[in-house]
């Protein structure tokens, strides 16, 4: 190889053609400007390699999670923890939440992880920084619930309930409510279990007394919890249902019972429909509701519905314990006169119910029919027809 430069200077003309444009021909491309703009974002300071490490590590963790590579994710997580010591205060404060989310995800799925590991992790993360305590407690409790550990979940929630830190921010308020709600739900669950146990026990059983007492106290605790909660605006449906169910046991005549009945009526489940009937009857067991026209209207309608649905047995079940005292309680002659003078609509509804349950021969029904004959002919006709078709009393009697 000899004189290279000689070789190269000759074909220069050709080289010009092959030459690529080094400086962009199209527009201004200023790579250093891009870099300047990057530093403007960081406030003029060049990003330290520490920050590059942590952000790269985060990316790897997320990738591993997406690919369900739990062991790898744990490995990267091990290195990621150093972000808790970041000199950048902003990153340091945001770290616990990120670590909790990723860590809990890993621990949930990792084959070597168990409830104990998860709980240790949750306990540690709860105490880093102040604002994460409630959130983590709640999620920890849900995790425990998922694994069927109700007492532990209850404990976690109870602890969380008592957490206070200076001026609570409004976001923390919501969390506290949630904590209370779930606690209430848990209590409802235990109460309901106790109820079931109770139903299995014989009344003679020596444990019956204590069991009932237990249940009562539980009910009281739960209802206190939940009632406070429902005051707060929001959508609390699952909690309300449990609340109302407890109430039904302790205060069957509560004004929420009608609502409860409606919910049950609209449900898809048959057992709910049966319960709906029970609830309705229970409401009217109490003196305070005897004049409640809505209750009577519901009962009338629902009886028809139930009987149309061929559930005579349900009606008979309910009526069995009541047929001895309801006639004089609701459907006496006195009441017939009273109701008619006070509220004709109420009287009609009651009459309809009386007719269905007691037959058209009963005093109440006859009185109302007679009275209504003048003004409310159409209605009377309808009533008659309804009683005829639905009455559970054998017309032969």
């Amino acid at each position: 190889m000899s004189d290279f430069s000689g070789e190269l200077t000759r074909p220069m003309a050709e080289a010009d053609q092959v030459e690529k444009s080094m400086l962009s021909g199209t527009g201004m491309s200023i790579p250093w400007l891009r870099k300047q703009m990057e530093t403007v974002e960081t406030g003029g300071k060049k990003e330290k390699d520490f920050a590059k490490t942590t952000s790269a590590c985060l990316g790897l963790i997320q990738e591993a999670l997406l690919k369900h590579q739990w062991e790898k994710a744990a490995e990267y997580m091990h290195s990621y923890f150093q972000i808790l010591e970041d000199s950048d205060a902003g990153k340091r404060q945001a770290a616990p939440e990120i670590i909790w989310r990723l860590g809990s995800e890993i621990l949930y799925y990792h084959p070597k992880s168990n409830v104990e590991t998860f709980s240790t992790f949750a306990d540690r993360m709860k105490n880093i920084g102040v604002m994460n305590y409630l959130k983590i407690s709640l999620q920890h409790a849900l995790y425990l619930l998922h694994h069927g550990m109700l007492e532990d979940a209850n404990r976690s929630l109870s602890q969380a309930e008592t957490w206070r830190y200076g001026e609570k921010s409004s976001s923390q308020d919501i969390l506290i409510n949630l904590v209370q709600a779930y606690k209430g739900l848990l209590q409802y669950y235990t109460w309901s279990k106790k109820k079931m146990e109770l139903s299995k026990l014989d009344e003679e059983d020596y444990a019956y007394g204590t069991a009932t007492q237990n249940m009562r106290s539980h009910s009281w605790k739960t209802s206190v919890n939940l009632s406070a909660l429902i005051q707060i605006p929001g959508v609390w449906d699952p909690f309300v249902k449990s609340y109302v169910e407890i109430l039904y046991q302790i205060v069957p005549s509560h004004k929420l019972m009608l609502e409860f009945h409606r919910i049950l009526r609209n449900s898809d489940k048959e057992e709910h429909h049966k319960l709906g009937l029970e609830v309705l009857f229970a409401i009217l067991d109490f003196a305070g509701c005897t004049k409640n026209i809505t209750a009577w209207k519901y009962l009338a309608k629902y009886l028809k519905q139930t009987l149309m649905g061929n559930h005579l047995a349900w009606v008979q079940d309910e009526w069995r314990s009541r047929k001895n005292w309801w006639p004089s309680f609701h459907f006496s002659y006195f009441w017939a006169k009273n109701d008619w003078t006070e509220d004709k609509a109420l009287a009609c509804e009651k009459a309809l119910v009386a007719g269905i349950l007691l037959g058209k021969g009963c005093r109440y029904f006859r009185y109302v029919s007679k009275q209504g004959h003048q003004g409310l002919k159409k209605k009377m006709k309808r009533m008659n027809r309804a009683v005829k078709s639905y009455s559970i009393v054998d017309p032969g009697l």
Binding site: S2, K20, W32, A56, K112
Partner: protein, 589 residues
Amino acid sequence: MDLDEAKEFKERCTQCAAVSWGLTDEGKYYCTSCHNVTEISKEVINTGDIPNTKIQAINRGLKRKRKLEKGWDWYVCEGFQCILCQQAEALKTLGVGPELKNEVLHNFWKRYLQKSKQAYCKNPIYTSRRKAVVLEENLSHSDWESEPELLSDFSFPFVESGAESQSDVNTQKSFPVIKASQSETASVCSGSLDGVEYSRRKEKGIVKMTMPRTLAFCYLSLLWQRETITLSDLLRFVEEDHIPYINSFQHFPEEMKLYGRDKGIFAIESWPDYEDIYKKTIEVATFLDLPRFPDITEDCYLHPNILCMKYLMEVNLPDEMHNLTCQVVKLTGIGEVDFLTFDPIAKMAKTVKYDVQAVAIIIVVLKLLFLLDDNLEWSLSNLAEKHNEKNKEDNPWFDFRKWYQVMKRTVDEKKQKWEEARAKYIWKSEKPVYHSSIDKSVVYKRREMVVSLQKQFSTLVDSTPTVGKKSPSSFQFSWSEEDTDRTCFHGHSLQGILKKKDQSLTTKNSLYWLSTQKFCKSYCKHVTTYEESNYSLSYQFILNLFSFLLRIKTSFLHEEVSLVEKKLFKTKYSKTKKKSSRSRKVRRY
């Protein structure tokens, strides 16, 4: 030992019965033979007799700042001395001769202390007597035992200044006053005696010692000794933790407590950057007024001929290319001793980036052979492939395409591992460093938390043993003929791309394109920019490959390639210059 001021004290020492007294910072008498400190303070009568230094020392002593942790008194430069010691020791472990530590680096450091007026000079910044004691215990390494002279050097100036300044009180230079009150507030403190003041010090003309500069010192010593470690090798060893740098302060003696402002000085959170260290090397060498370094001759490792061979082997290119690289070296004149040898005093103090330049030469040769226009290299590859298929017995012709495939796969793998290692790198030291008494407990608690979390998760990690810590090596890739998995191209022939011309060979390819048409002449940092999209993919690949190898930015390497081409094709450049100076019109490129 200031006998002058303690002369009036005639008592016998209770411990050793000698009558030889000195004064501590706090103005108390102490026995100079057994260092027994008394409770008797000297009464200052005539402040006019006492030179400035003493007043300040006494003042500072009386308002002795509250230390958060008990330990030695130490100065920041002592910390750096300790670190340099560790680094030199590590270099020794890597195979570097012991003279580097004992003589070269040590002398550079002494010179630095002198130049920065921290010691070995007439008016040092420090006046504390305790310093001498600390250093002695600090430098426990046997190689630096020649330290007694260091110690005496430290204490020597005190005597001088004591003796002289009494007469020169009026003409004495005022030097930086250390305000003790500044560092007394609880929020601003440091484990070292001068940590706070050190970070604020901004003296013109003085190069302040920083962590990156320790590497500059190391490199200067390596260069002086002409060791077989290039700057990129050094920085790579740092990244691989073979040389203490990140968290090197953890190896300070137990008694040298580090906290507060020291953190910003010693706890670095970035890896060293080649460009940065390179600049600092020149800066330090200039500051130290170093003479011309030992010559880099043709038999030196750092000579481009040898480095090119090394890199050709590492990147799996044919040995035959070495002839071409030598040719380029000769033509550009960069193999000359005067060009290669570092001379800080010279007007244009430029050191050669030996490794970057060697690699740039290889790239130029690749361009000469293959043009790298996304076209010719592939057609030449086709020819090589055809020939190799027909002649399986002969030495195969070098096939660029095959080489590209092998290299791409290898480098991608390596790069991925490297990125993963970087993402998993643990920056924080085991013993946390806090800023002040306020956050000490918080910092310790955080560390405890991190450690316990790490412990928990380490049980969940796959227990299969990962590749242990690599032993340091100059070569990142190795290729062998026996390995059937990965082709080794060392022995392949360039026959297919060279042709005979008269008595010698020349490249079949006769075209070339320049990486940079015009160089920037203004005062910005670089003479050219690198915008990827303007270049062929092959060129981009080559640049990325080599810049990963050296852990430098592609733009940095591209610039070096341009500079080599500038020398190689200087006629072309001068012609262009003449053209533009003649024509009035401004030509847009």
